[in-house]
Point group: C2
Chain length 331, copies 2
């Protein structure tokens, strides 16, 4: 497989390279016999066009960066998975960029992607997105964010309705008979996380109950602290809502180590609907986010914006997913 350039194919087919180029990228502009002949020859040689050269010349590539803080977090992993799929159904190539929460890295990826003529990018942030910072980049106006953003932003976004999710969780738990429901807010300063917490605080205050936030740290030990807090209470809540599935896992684990059983002693709900939750012990009741939809929609929004400059903000409906980590309150 020596060097296979467009000229090689052109020569082999006895045409000029511009014709070969057209045969590939603007098929209707070349006589069908010629085209088929060229394509056949190219096929035989095992020729494919250089995306590099193409991008360089056309100033537009099919690379779509997906910027996530931590791929180890199953939420982002699932997002990445569905998005790769969604991306290449549409002819894009998803590039996964992991920032570890470092804003400098995020910027680095931005300039890199700009340099690679990515048509747009997707950002799933771990902190509130500073849209102004985004726009400092030439590339910043071609980004869709998977989170809510501040103000009347000109950046397209996809989110799920966190408040609605909390409503579902609360309804589920109350219908089971729980009246004392705590909350553990793990990590993150995203708007999404904020919204969930706010919704909890507001909605759980309804009726006779009072909100109870067991812990709101964002470090790895937050769940352990929440568990400790729980154990020290003389009248602990009979149910707990965790800000997301990972936190729920950690809470259940920490509780378990102190002999507290879920759901026998306390019900615990997550929020995300990770596939992993089905394999947890016990399988986790949770509020499912339509992650696959988010991925698809993110790309659609980006394309739409690129096309006609429209900036949409889509908010999706979450869905209750009852598994085994919740039950009636311990009598």
């Amino acid at each position: 497989m020596a060097d296979l350039s467009i000229d090689v194919v052109a020569k082999a087919a006895g045409v000029h390279r511009s014709t070969v180029s057209r045969a590939f990228s603007r098929p209707e502009a070349v006589k069908s016999e010629t085209r088929e002949h060229i394509l056949r020859i190219a096929e035989g040689l095992g020729y494919t066009m250089s995306p590099l050269a193409q991008a360089l010349r056309t100033k537009t590539s099919t690379f779509v960066p997906l910027i996530v803080p931590d791929i180890t977090n199953p939420f982002f992993a699932e997002l990445a998975k569905t998005m790769t799929q969604a991306a290449d159904e549409r002819g894009y190539q998803l590039l996964l960029c992991v920032t570890n929460g470092d804003p400098a890295k995020t910027e680095g990826y931005f300039t890199a992607m700009q340099a690679m003529y990515a048509p747009f990018g997707i950002v799933a942030p771990s902190t509130k997105v500073d849209t102004d910072a985004l726009k400092r980049f030439d590339f910043g106006h071609k980004v869709v964010v998977i989170d809510r953003v501040e103000g009347d932003s000109s950046v397209p976004t996809v989110t799920v309705d966190g408040r609605r999710g909390i409503v579902l969780a609360l309804e589920h738990l109350r219908s089971l008979g729980h009246t004392s429901i705590g909350y553990v807010s793990g990590i993150s300063g995203t708007h999404t996380a904020q919204d969930r917490m706010d919704a909890y605080l507001e909605l759980s205050a309804e009726g006779s109950s009072t909100p109870l936030v067991l812990d709101s740290g964002s470090d790895p030990d937050a769940a352990a602290r929440a568990a400790k807090h729980f154990l020290e209470m003389e009248k602990p809540p009979t149910a707990i809502i965790a800000a997301n599935d990972m936190v729920a896992f950690a809470v259940i684990s920490a509780l378990g180590q102190s002999g507290i059983r879920v759901p026998e002693d306390v019900s615990v709900m997550g929020f995300d609907g990770l596939a992993l939750g089905a394999r947890f012990n016990p399988p986790l009741t949770t509020v499912r986010q339509p992650i696959a939809d988010m991925g698809n929609i993110a790309i659609e929004l980006a394309e739409k914006q690129n096309l006609n400059g429209s900036v949409d903000h889509v908010v999706l409906e979450p869905e209750l997913l009852v598994r085994a980590s919740t039950s009636g309150p311990r009598k």
Copy 2:
């Protein structure tokens, strides 16, 4: 930020573009004052070189593909995480390619990466790697595989010693007093998986005990079947070794749903050492693979091969990680 090409900088600095080029990529070839002047101007303009153009001309880029079957699998996610790190410490840019186990996609990524002049690639397979198939690609001889491969392959590899891992697991369990130890082999036809299973079969036959494979399917329900099998036995094993952490999670979950408790009723061990395991219920005892090392070494091997053609096969030592899912056998 209008179009910022090398010529713009050259004009601004009053030199020829070749000088600018050299100032960046071969600093010693240009007088230091000139260089600094150019760099300053470039800095001021916010100029960075186009990796595309560079790659096109030099026929070598810094893109390193990491090909994994499923990013949703925490093992690959952790690998990806440590490798992105390792990669950009060395000036590479890791491109995560997810195949979903589809060999066609793998090939697709190969040709794509070849086209992008990737210096080499890393493959973490989900099936036995067919090294001949690899070599059909021009790119195939620049790949390091994270698994053992068949025969006297000319492809560098990194693995951990699966047999040793099983020895550690067995020793741990036996020292706890277990004599009847089952095995659940989840997914995958990798050599790694095969090695573990073989080691179990051979080593568990020592002493008076006889091997007991609860299930060896690779589908999502394998763990459930294993659990069912366990429940139906009149004298089930007192401990179970799972082929990897994910399987262990699923087994514990399935067992839990039938009221079997871990480790009270049965001890369960995993294999991988996922961070997630620490948050499982109960925290999972497992055999840790040095994932971070694997990533670093994979890149080193690739570089070495590129440099002097050497093909090494590194096998790393696993390590016992005792958490809470194992204890003495139920009396």
